[in-house]
Amino acid sequence: MKNRTLSFAKRNLIEMSRDSLSYIFCVAFPLVMLVIMSIVNASIPKEAGMTLFRIDNLAGGIAIFGQTFVMLFSALNVTKDRSGSFLVRLFASPMKSRNFTGGYFLPLIVVAFVQVIIAFAASFIVSLVTGTELSVLGLLAGAVAVIPSAVMFIAIGMIFGTIFNEKAAPGMCSIIISLGAIVGGIWFDVEGVGGFMEKLSRCLPFLYSTKVARAAIKMDFGFDTFLMPLIVVTGSAVVLTALACFFFGRKMRADLA
C-alpha cells in the first residue's frame, strides 16, 4: 500500500541525517551548553542558593533549548524545498497537503526524541560526576513529557518556513531561540526576576515547556508543577500544529493557483 506521508518523511529524515549541520545544532551544541553550564554551576558557591544550573534543573532546560534548534531545522526543511523545483515536482504528484505536513513533522519528532535521549544520557553522566541525584525513570518520563513541546517547536518552524523565504525564516527562528532561552527560564530564573519579564514569560508557552521537563525529571507530577504546564504546552502544540497545516495548505493552494 502506498503511504505517501511515510515516503516523504523517510526522504526528509535521510536528507537531515546527511546534513552535518543537523549534528552540530541538534546534538553537539546542546551538549556543549550542558558541559559549559555544569562547569558554571560547579563554580557557583553553595551559599548563593542558585540551583538553576544544577543538573536536575539544567537537563530539562537543555532539552527545551535543543528543541528550539529542531524548530530551525523544521523551517529550513520547508524553505529549502520551496526554493527549488523539487516541491513543484511533488505538487504535480498525487501528494496532498496532509502528506506534506505529516512528512515534515514525523522525522523531526524522531530527531527531537533522539536529541533528548542523548541530552539526558549526557546529563546522567554529569550527575554521576557531580554527585547530584538524577533518576533514570525521571529522565525517561522527561523524554516522553517533552514530546508535546517538540511538536510545538516543529510547528513554529513549519509556520516560519511556509510564510518566510530561505533568508528570513532562519532569522525569525533565531528570535524564537533567543526568546525561548530568555523567557523560557532556561538560563535564568524568570519567576525570581518578577515584574514584566515574569508576566511576559507566563503569556508565552516556552516557560511551561521548561517546567514540564524539569518536573518530569524530578518525578514531580503535581497539578501546578507538571499537569497545568503540560496542558498549556499541549494546547499550544495543537493550536500551532493546526496553524502550520493551515498555512502550508494555503501556500500550496496559492502556488497552484
Partner: protein
C-alpha cells in the same frame, strides 16, 4: 487513436499579463508533440496548467478525458513532469530518489523492479549509490526524467529537457526520449529547433501566448515555403 490532451480556449492571466491566450490544441495518444517558442511565449505556463500546477483563468483542458481543474487528483496520477530546473533531492542517492518517486505512485511490491528498470534505461548503473548533488548536469537531468517516468505516467511533460546540456549529453538524451516515446505520449517544450525537428511528430509554434501554427514539419514547410524548422519558425514569427 484517442486524444491524450484536448484544450479549448485555454487562458492564463496574471495581474497585467496574459501568459496563455485562448489556446485550443489536441494531442493524440502515443504522439510526441513539441511546443516551440521564444522565452515568454507561454510554453511553460501551458504545461503547468496541463499538469495541475496552475489553474486556468478561463477555458478548459482535459487530460485523458479528465478535467484538469475538477479532476486534478485523477490527472496527477496519469502525468509525469520533468521541470526546466532539475528537480531532484540533492542529498539522496540516485536509487533513493527513484525509490521515493516510485513510492508515490506504485504499490510497494513493484517499486524495486521499477527502480532497476529506470536505472538500466537511463544507464545510471554506476551512479546508483551516488548522491544526486554529485552528479554532472547531464546525469542529473537524466535522473530528473527517470523520476518523471518511474510512476508509469500515460503522458510525460518535458519542459526544456536539454537546456544547458552540452551537445553530446543532449544527443544521448534524445536517444532516451526516443525510447520513452514508444511507451507514452510526450509533450516537450524546447528552444532548440533541431531538437523539435529530430523528436517531434507534431509541432505547435507558440507566440505571445497563442498558437501561431501547428502541424508536422513537412506541413509547416509546405505552408511557409521554407525548408528546415528554424527557417519555418522565423517565417511564422515574422508573419504573426
Amino acid at each position: 487513436m484517442s486524444n491524450a490532451i484536448v484544450t479549448n480556449g485555454l487562458i492564463k492571466r496574471y495581474k497585467d499579463k496574459t501568459a496563455v491566450d485562448g489556446i485550443s490544441i489536441t494531442v493524440e495518444e502515443g504522439k510526441l508533440v513539441a511546443l516551440l517558442g521564444v522565452n515568454g511565449a507561454g510554453k511553460t505556463t501551458t504545461i503547468r496548467m496541463l499538469t495541475c500546477l496552475s489553474k486556468p483563468t478561463a477555458g478548459t483542458a482535459r487530460v485523458l478525458g479528465h478535467d484538469v481543474v475538477k479532476e486534478s487528483d485523477e490527472v496527477k496520477k496519469l502525468v509525469g513532469i520533468s521541470t526546466q530546473d532539475t528537480a531532484v533531492a540533492e542529498n539522496l542517492t540516485v536509487r533513493e530518489n527513484l525509490e521515493f518517486m516510485a513510492s508515490l505512485y506504485l504499490p510497494k511490491e513493484r517499486i524495486g523492479g521499477a527502480v532497476e528498470k529506470a536505472i538500466k534505461a537511463f544507464g545510471l548503473e554506476e551512479f546508483r549509490n551516488k548522491k544526486a548533488k554529485h552528479l554532472s548536469g547531464g546525469w542529473k537531468r537524466k535522473l530528473s526524467i527517470a523520476m518523471a517516468i518511474i510512476g508509469e505516467p500515460k503522458i510525460l511533460f518535458l519542459d526544456e529537457p536539454t537546456l544547458g546540456l552540452d551537445v553530446l549529453a543532449r544527443r544521448q538524451l534524445w536517444t532516451e526520449i526516443e525510447e520513452i516515446k514508444k511507451h507514452m505520449t510526450i509533450v516537450l517544450t524546447t528552444h532548440y529547433m533541431e531538437e523539435a525537428e529530430a523528436l517531434a511528430d507534431e509541432i505547435f509554434v507558440m507566440i505571445n501566448g497563442k498558437i501561431a501554427a501547428h502541424g508536422t514539419l513537412s506541413e509547416l514547410e509546405a505552408r511557409t515555403g521554407k525548408t528546415g524548422l528554424e527557417e519555418v519558425f522565423i517565417k511564422i514569427a515574422e508573419e504573426y
